[in-house]
Amino acid sequence: MPTEDVLGFAVAGTFVLYALLGGADFGGGVWDLLAAGPRKAEQRALIARAIGPVWEVNHVWLIVGLVLLFSGFPRAFAALSVALHVPLTLLVLGIVFRGTAFTFRAYDTRGDAVERNWGVVFSVASVVAPLLLGMCVGAVASDAIRMQGHAVVSGFFASWLSPFALSVGVLTLGLFAFLAAVYLTHEAPTRELAEDFRRRALVTGGLLFPLALAALLLSRQGAPRVWTGLSQTPFALALHAGTAVAAVTAFALLWTRRFRAARVAAATQGGLIVLGWAVSQAPYLVYPTLTLQAAAAPPAVQRVLFVALAVGLVTVVPSLVLLFRVFRPRAPAPGAPTS
């Protein structure tokens, strides 16, 4: 396998992890906004507790992906930064407000208006950011970003405001909300809370099917490369089938309340969706101009990046395992208090 493909795979890998961890984090914000019913306050407390120790870590995946992109494929990074200047700027503002609001709320808990206002900022930013992120992905996957030489000639709005890009934005938001709901069923300390999030997971999980279908149909016009990639190449079809199996499994496990296993199935489903996008687009970084090969840094640089990646894996993975072990959710004891 050529080294640039391996590097491209690493970039895709960080995006998968960002979707599964950072995405669920955004999803937590969505459920904070939509908290309802008799256990509204408990739902919010559970979300805050689940996100607290890990939110910063979850968002480092985005930085790692960005750094790999600009060190490994600098030309693609430059082109995307120009073409998607507007939505990326808005996304960054969403990330800023989400992170700071969450922290200010967590460290300034007084139950007063200040805390409630931060809660609103946190949850609204959690909805807006995934939408924008998805729209950027939609723009990249479509053929709407056009270049001449190194210059972007397709303008600063059309590519990410297309119906296809919008559909990917909504799908992303739905996926993140679904992942968060499934994860929270397992994190919930009481059966009632687990039930609250089971219902939410089933509803959003159900919604994902029409959303994905809509994006797929729109891709025929809006992203021909993805359409052929998703519907014709054998590998993509296999991925597709895998995603469908994972989705049905997640549904069945949620239905039968096997929450721990449902988490795994939902994460597999989410991961395969992101991977499916990456595979359907490969070898293009910006279709139809920049391939992995055309945008890749010279081999000497790629080799050094592999070493940096190895250093990163050796330091980060054991630390991450430790972090997730320390904050492993504790299963609700039978007959645990309900609130």
């Binding site: 607290g52 120790p53 890990v54 910063e56 870590v57 968002h59 480092v60 985005l62 930085i63 790692v64 960005l66 750094v67 790999l68 600009f70 060190s71 490994g72 600098p74 030309r75 990074f77 430059a78 082109a79 995307l80 930064s81 120009v82 200047h85 990326l88 700027t89 996304l91 960054v92 503002l93 990330i95 800023v96 992170g99 700071t100 969450f102 922290t103 200010f104 967590a106 460290y107 300034d108 210059a151 972007v152 840094a297 010279p298 000497a300 640089v301 050094v304 990046l305 940096a308 990646l309 250093v311 990163g312 330091t315 980060v316 630390s319 991450l320 430790l322 972090l323 320390v326 904050f327």
Partner: protein, 445 residues
């Protein structure tokens, strides 16, 4: 203003904002671990409370630092796509390693902050140490990128971009050892001075407050040590600039003519039109001695360089004067404090000293910001010195005023909010007025 100027202003503002939180993210964990260690040794509950307070401060400042750092990594592309498109591959290595360090920092900060009750005391302390170490590593790696921009190396420049890229050579560009040490010291110094200033302020109002005297005893050693070491490192750094970037040195010193036995100019305002410095106090042969260690050394003046590669002379000179001035004041205060500590066998608490430390509280941050301005303004008009001009790197996206004003408003708002939240944290530690209801002490005067 042109779009280039808006782009530079936005980048500058983002860095100026981020750098405060980055410095705190590097230094506060050290202070937090130090008070944790003191608690273990003395079993004094105040040190444990201090360490918890510092951990909360670290969490708040680290979060703002993390999001503003995320903004910066996007802005590299959003504002300077040509720079990243061409040189991203050359400087990707330090950025990648910085990513690793940042990752480790975030992981262990999570364990330290939320894990006190869940992990063993040994692992808890280890997590704190890891936060401090990876914070320093992250500052180290990211400073290497700036060193590269000042003294690019590790590639051959061609019209089509860099070739023969050697990432390791680029990562350790000439002068890296001076710049990274200078930056790391400044982070510890600025944070320790700010912390000392806060507790000095409270001690002036509540002279006996034991908690705050202990807090001061944690902040002062680091503040004094760094304040005395910094001028020495700064001198080495300036000597390197004199050799590697003579035009920057000339701007820092307001040196227009090439001169043998050049004087050191204290203060003053350079006038580029008349090519003179008004109102400076000259120390004869001072610059030649400081820059080259020889009273008769020749110092190149700005006139020896084409006008279109001059940095903004007045700004660089004034920023440099502010950095050196505040640095000297801090070193002086550190020397006096250490002298009185040696004479009195405890950290001085008198009103005079507390007033001095209160006044010195913001100086570290002032020095940090002005020092950073010297580096960045002093490199202009280049984004990669001698290879790519800032104007060549800027994005073709129009109307950059819009993001500039948006981010300015956001940073102002966040800055005020951080101060507000931090103040509520500090206020909760104030001694309660006699007869106050338990829990009512949070609302400070």
């Amino acid at each position: 203003m042109t779009d280039l100027l808006y782009a530079r202003a936005q980048m500058g503002l983002s860095l100026a904002f981020h750098i405060v939180f980055a410095a705190a993210g590097v230094a506060l964990p050290v202070l937090m671990v130090l008070s944790d260690l003191k608690h273990r040794r003395t079993q004094d509950a105040d040190y444990r409370r201090l360490s918890e307070k510092l951990a909360k401060g670290t969490a708040i400042l680290f979060a703002v630092g993390a999001v503003s750092g995320t903004v910066l990594s996007f802005e590299l592309g959003l504002l300077w796509p040509e720079f990243m498109g061409r040189y991203g591959e050359v400087i990707g290595l330090p950025f990648s390693l910085e990513g690793v360090a940042f990752f480790t920092e975030a992981i262990f900060l999570g364990i330290y902050l939320y894990g006190r009750e869940r992990v063993s005391p040994g692992l808890h302390l280890f997590s704190g140490v890891m936060v401090a170490v990876s914070g320093a590593a992250s500052a180290f790696f990211v400073t290497l990128v700036n060193t590269f921009m000042n003294n690019p190396s590790g590639f051959t420049a061609t019209a089509a971009g860099p070739t023969d890229v050697q990432p390791l050579v680029a990562m350790f560009s000439p002068g890296w050892q001076y710049q990274t040490t200078h930056v790391l010291l400044s982070s510890y110094q600025a944070t320790a001075f700010a912390m000392a200033g806060i507790h000095a302020f409270i001690l002036l109002r509540h002279p006996g407050a034991a908690f705050h005297r202990k807090a001061l005893s944690v902040a002062l050693p680091l503040a004094c040590l760094t304040a005395l070491a910094q001028p020495l490192v700064g001198d080495l750094s300036a000597k390197h600039v004199a050799r590697a970037q003579p035009v920057k040195l000339a701007a820092m010193e307001g040196q227009f003519d090439t001169e043998v036995g050049a004087p050191l100019r204290l203060g003053g305002l350079p006038d580029v039109e008349t090519r003179t410095v008004r109102g400076a106090i000259d120390v004869p042969k001072g610059l030649s001695i400081l820059a080259f260690g020889d009273p008769d050394a020749e110092v190149k003046g700005l006139n020896a360089f084409p006008r279109d590669v001059w940095p903004p002379v007045a700004k660089v000179h004034v920023a440099f004067q502010v950095m050196v001035g505040t640095g000297s004041l801090m070193a002086l205060l550190a020397a006096v404090t250490l002298w009185r500590r040696w004479r009195g066998r405890e950290w001085p608490h008198g009103t005079g000293m507390m007033r001095a430390w209160l006044a010195a509280g913001p100086l570290g941050l002032v020095a940090l910001e002005s020092g950073w301005l010297v580096t960045e303004w002093g490199r202009q008009p280049w984004i990669v010195r001698g290879v790519m001009r800032t104007g060549e790197a800027v994005t073709p996206v129009p109307h950059l005023a819009a993001p500039f004003f948006t981010f300015t408003a956001v940073y102002l708002f966040l800055g005020v909010m951080v101060l507000f939240v931090l103040w509520r944290q500090v206020a909760a530690t104030l001694p309660k007025p006699p007869g106050a209801v338990e829990g009512g002490g949070a609302h400070a005067h």
